[in-house]
């Protein structure tokens, strides 16, 4: 099957997830104020980066968050790690409300939520040795592991596949993939229960991506760490996640377990997203190909998002109802348990080719007609 080349089927069946919720996010909202006006600057609007999302990450589960650039994925990650202050909503970590907790209040759970960053070239302090970078979090939280901090760092370097002898080296002596491993080691240093991985592999080249994803998966399985995996690469998310949420313009529009989202998507946007994954066609198979949907235009401005359903401006099924009424994120008929979709007119739960391609981009349509 050609499809395997693109979306590698996971090596094992959808793993079981223990039922305890670790992180519960309700109605999380982040609006960045837009200042303007003269002579007195005042708030004239807001970038609605994240606008009321709900999600739950269970203990030991890896939860994927996908979406286009600028849809609020990274903002969500930064809100959960409390690098940003939420405008509204509630973040609960193992039963504790951390929505507006101060640095001191957060101290006891800081060690349990860690983050892996996108850019390995800016996420390591160029003036510190690898040893200092990785032991930094232990120092801050006053953790004295058995065998000393240096021993622990060497152990961590080994876990992430680096030479423990690299302890005294500086970040500029490493390649991007190795740097990202150092970032992973730093996140693991505190033995966290939840790691927010913000596009951890998108800055790496493809050959290294697989190594790092496999490393993360190994870490996730063996240490039982829950992951919030933020990415725009659908194949990587499919490979890595137990459950997946699709974001569009600050909202979650579809969430469900991996197989539901990838093989039985309902929301038109999810269909479009999946169909945008490049496909290698060797030309010799008679099986039905995948559906083909090409959207037109860009994501609307989050300063002034469309009324009702936010996807309606680019949706081929949009009707009057979509403009007036915002579809709730619910389990619509035909969905499996836990598969929620926010759409008034959902698509068929299949990704197989339909009778006619949906090409909304006028330039592309004209090109194909000629």
């Amino acid at each position: 099957m050609t499809e395997d080349l693109v979306l590698p089927a996971p090596r094992d069946a959808a793993p079981e997830v223990s039922g305890d919720p670790l992180l519960v996010v309700e109605g999380l909202t982040k609006h960045f104020p837009v200042k303007g006006g003269f002579p007195i600057r005042r708030t004239v609007g807001a970038v609605q980066a994240v606008d009321g999302i709900d999600l739950t990450v269970h203990v030991g589960e890896s939860f994927g968050l996908v979406g286009e650039s600028g849809c609020g994925k990274s903002t969500t990650g930064r809100l959960i790690t409390r690098l940003l202050e939420p405008s509204a909503g509630k973040i609960t970590y193992s039963g504790q409300d951390i929505t507006h907790a101060s640095r001191k209040q957060l101290a006891p759970i800081r060690s349990e939520i860690q983050m892996i960053f996108q850019d390995p070239y800016s996420s390591l302090n160029p003036r510190q040795t690898v040893g200092k970078i990785i032991s930094g979090p232990m120092e801050i939280n006053g953790i004295q592991p058995a065998g000393g901090r240096e021993g622990r760092v060497r152990e961590l370097l080994e876990i992430v596949g680096l030479n423990p002898e690299h302890y005294n080296r500086f970040p500029h002596e490493f390649s991007g993939g190795q740097r990202q491993r150092i970032g992973v080691a730093r996140a693991l240093a505190l033995e966290p229960k939840l790691i927010v991985a913000d596009e951890p592999v998108s800055a790496l080249d493809v050959s290294i991506q697989a190594q790092v994803v496999n490393l993360l998966q190994e870490v996730q399985r063996e240490l039982g760490i829950a992951f919030l995996f933020i990415a725009h690469d659908l194949a990587v998310v499919r490979h890595f996640s137990h459950r997946v949420a699709v974001m569009y313009l600050g909202k979650i529009i579809e969430v469900g377990d991996r197989d539901s989202i990838y093989t039985r998507p309902r929301h038109p946007y999810t269909h479009a997203l999946l169909s945008a994954v490049p496909e290698v066609n060797l030309g010799d198979d008679e099986t039905v190909g995948r559906e083909r949907i090409r959207l037109a235009g860009d994501v609307p401005s989050p300063i002034n998002p469309p009324t009702g359903c936010r996807f309606r401006t680019r949706c081929w099924k949009a009707q009057d109802k979509c403009a007036t009424e915002e579809p709730p994120l619910i389990q619509i008929s035909g969905n499996l348990a836990g598969h929620l979709t926010a759409c008034h007119f959902p698509e068929e739960p299949t990704i197989e080719a339909r009778d006619e391609d949906i090409v909304l981009d006028p330039a592309l349509a004209a090109l194909e007609e000629s």
Binding site: R78, T81, L83, R103, L106, A107, R110, S111, I113, Q114, M115, F117, Q118, D119, S122, S123, L124, N125, P126, R127, Q128, T129, V130, I133, G136, P137, I140, N141, N163, E165, H166, N168, R169, F170, H172, E173, G183, R186, L190
Partner: protein, 317 residues
């Protein structure tokens, strides 16, 4: 087996610097001047003279009735290597040594004060952002609008009179403190601005966020994550600033608002050289302070360039 040890950015800079011949030579020249200033008492002891002895009284046979040295070239001899000063007849060699000492001492103090202020306000503005940043930046803009030289000249007497009543004689240390204070007051902004920009850029880097995710305090973030990364602009900028302060101090002394007789000072020697008595009778007097200052300033500026190149090899000059 040789232990695997990485080279820090600082070590790399040092290696690059050592390869730069201009930089190394300039560094030696600059070090020589600092050594001369530091060892001035020792050198003058070995030389057997001091800058305060009035040779016009001690050895009147060397001077004519106007107080000009009789021997050619301002009385240069095996006894008085750089000659004698017309008028009071001070020994020029020791006077220059002590003059360098005074000037460099004042300039180093100004540099340290401005660098500390620049770090404090610049990093604070850049890291805190928002209101503190706005406030500090406006103060910087305001102070940069001052005409510095005019302000120095005008404010020196005012600052001095804050400490001493105008009828009393001003002690030298008050003049030194006043010189340091006025130069510091209008000297810290350029470095603060650069550091504000650098910390503003650093604040958005992900390693700062990583430290915050680990629960690091703002103090730890500033001292461990930001400061080590602004060492480069601090070093480069201060090697550019120090020669500037030396010339500014010399200028003030030349204009008569800095260090005054009999305290030896580099700039004040220029002022002396331009008096009518010296100008018309002993043009040689200007030679030694002038040449030594040119060598010092040129060497220091070249050193500044080399330091910058060593830290930032990618930027073409």
């Amino acid at each position: 087996m040789k232990k695997l040890e990485g080279r820090s950015p600082g070590q790399l800079m040092w290696i690059r610097f050592k390869r730069d011949r201009t930089g190394v030579v300039s560094a030696y020249v600059v070090a020589f001047f600092f050594l001369v200033g530091l060892l001035a008492p020792l050198i003058s002891k070995l030389y057997g003279k001091d800058p305060y002895t009035v040779y016009a009284d001690e050895r009147p046979e060397l001077f004519d009735s106007a107080g000009v040295p009789l021997q050619p070239n301002g009385g240069i001899s095996s006894q008085f290597w750089f000659g004698l000063e017309p008028g009071n007849g001070y020994d020029v060699f020791t006077k220059l040594l002590y003059g360098i000492r005074t000037s460099l001492m004042i300039s180093v103090c100004v540099t340290i004060a401005t660098v500390l202020t620049g770090i404090l306000l610049g990093v604070a503005a850049g890291y805190l952002g928002g209101k503190p940043d706005y406030f500090i930046s406006r103060v910087i803009d305001f102070l940069l609008a001052f005409p510095a030289q005019l302000f120095f000249i005008a404010s020196m007497p005012v600052v001095v009179s804050l400490f001493v009543s105008p009828t009393d004689e001003t002690p030298t240390y008050v003049r030194v403190v006043a010189l340091i204070a006025v130069q510091w007051f209008l000297g810290w902004m350029s470095l603060a601005r650069i550091l504000r920009g650098t910390s503003l850029a650093l604040r958005e880097r992900e390693f700062i966020e990583a430290a915050r995710v680990s629960g690091a305090s703002p103090w730890r973030i500033i001292s461990r994550e930001i400061l080590p990364n602004v060492v480069t602009p601090i070093l480069v900028q201060s090697t550019y600033m120090l020669p500037g302060f030396v010339t500014a101090e010399a200028g003030l002394s030349y204009l008569g608002v800095g260090i005054v007789e009999p305290t030896p000072d580099w700039g004040q020697m220029f002022s002396k050289a331009s008096t009518e008595l010296v100008m018309s009778n002993d043009i040689t007097y200007m030679f030694f302070p002038g040449v030594s200052m040119i060598i010092f300033i040129v060497a220091f500026n070249l050193l500044g360039d080399s330091v910058r190149d060593a830290f930032d090899p990618k930027t073409a000059r």
